[in-house]
């Protein structure tokens, strides 16, 4: 059935080369854990991507209940976690995934660093990777405020104080991020929410696309 459906579409649109180009390529022996078990270190990039997908999906579902408003944020998080079926699991996926994605990304970075895989001709991909790292950290930082509990509030106050200590432009930068020169409140929460769910993911998608295009173009780095 599926094969017939595929053939029907393929006959008209010739879609095979499209996915072949993306999915059908040889995995060199030195990155295949079936040949050398130590090659599992090559999995961390893929695992980072896998967890990123989980973060995107669970985040999308969480916004069905979450409200970025100082009166309702905590209440809505409490409600979705304790009253909605599987709420604890879906929020748990997003909560633990947020930490895990940083861990995986760090391991991926270590592998690339210690294998010297960032060297010519792959310097650009390293740079894009570093940018992705910063985006991920920013995602973690902005997401931390959203449950609007005491930990979130005071962690964000610390963040804003750090931002404020930037020479010359510190106070302006702080106001830009917090939405108010002195208050950490309603405007801070909506800003962090917008940054967390729209701006940073958009940047992340663009950078990941560049990251993957480059690895396909250049191929994986050779054996040590």
């Amino acid at each position: 059935m599926l094969t017939k459906l595929y053939d029907w579409v393929d006959e008209r649109l010739d879609i095979t080369p499209l996915w072949r180009d993306i999915a059908d390529h040889e995995v060199p022996e030195h990155v295949n854990p079936a040949h050398h078990f130590s090659a599992f270190v090559y999995c961390f990039g893929g695992l980072t991507f896998f967890i990123t997908v989980i973060q995107i999906l669970s985040g999308m579902f969480l916004t069905m209940y979450y409200v970025p408003d100082i009166k309702n944020a905590w209440e809505s998080v409490y409600y979705l976690q304790n009253e909605v079926a599987f709420g604890q699991i879906v929020r748990g996926m997003h909560h633990w995934g947020a930490s895990l994605v940083i861990v995986m990304m760090f391991l991926h970075t270590l592998r690339v660093f210690f294998q010297g895989a960032y060297k010519k001709p792959r310097e650009l991909n390293w740079m894009v990777g570093v940018l992705i790292f910063f985006i991920m950290l920013a995602l973690g930082l902005t997401g931390y405020l959203l449950p609007w509990d005491m930990k979130a509030l005071f962690a964000t106050k610390v963040t804003l104080t750090i931002v404020e200590s930037v020479p010359l432009m510190g106070p302006a930068l702080k106001t830009l991020i917090a939405g108010d020169p002195t208050i950490v409140g309603a405007q801070t929460l909506t800003r962090f929410f917008a940054i967390h769910v729209f701006f940073l993911p958009a940047a992340l998608f663009a950078l990941m696309a560049a990251h993957f295009l480059m690895i396909r173009k250049q191929g994986i780095s050779g054996p040590l």
Binding site: I54, L57, S58, F61, M64, Y65, V67, N72, E75, S76, Y78, Y79, L80, E83, V84, A85, F86, G87, I89, V90, M93
Partner: protein, 168 residues
Amino acid sequence: MSKHNVSRRQFLNYTLTGVGGFMAAGMLMPMVRFAIDPVLSADKGGDYIATKQKVSELTAEPTRVDFSFKQVDGWYESEETNTAWVYKMDDGKIIALSPICKHLGCTVAWNTDKANPNQFFCPCHYGRYTKDGVNVKGTPPISPLDVYETKEKDGILYLGRLKPHGEA
């Protein structure tokens, strides 16, 4: 041994699709169940709400009865006020009609249209209903007004769930 041989490629295809499908399902099942929870949660409603209306004071003329109740909407709790048009029939039966027009949901009122006295009138598109809540043919509404379940306790009127006309 069966003659049907599974090639190495086929075997790997099956196992990988199976394991991958299992993992994807494990990931998606909680999220989908989470999303469709409102559809599956049981309907809790049905409690009778006390109004401030004394049953003995009801007449054959429809009276506007406002009643308040606590509404729980997810994480948001509020005090809501609904309205019913209530009157007593000759045999003592109490009728409590919903003021929500069955055309597009505006609010109807009793006897507000000078040209058609003693009817419920909706100002949005001139929908009309007779006193028993039945829609007047030739006006926009296509069905009669909904009816509240009613109950009398200690001389006070209690209103229950809204039912379609003829079922309360």
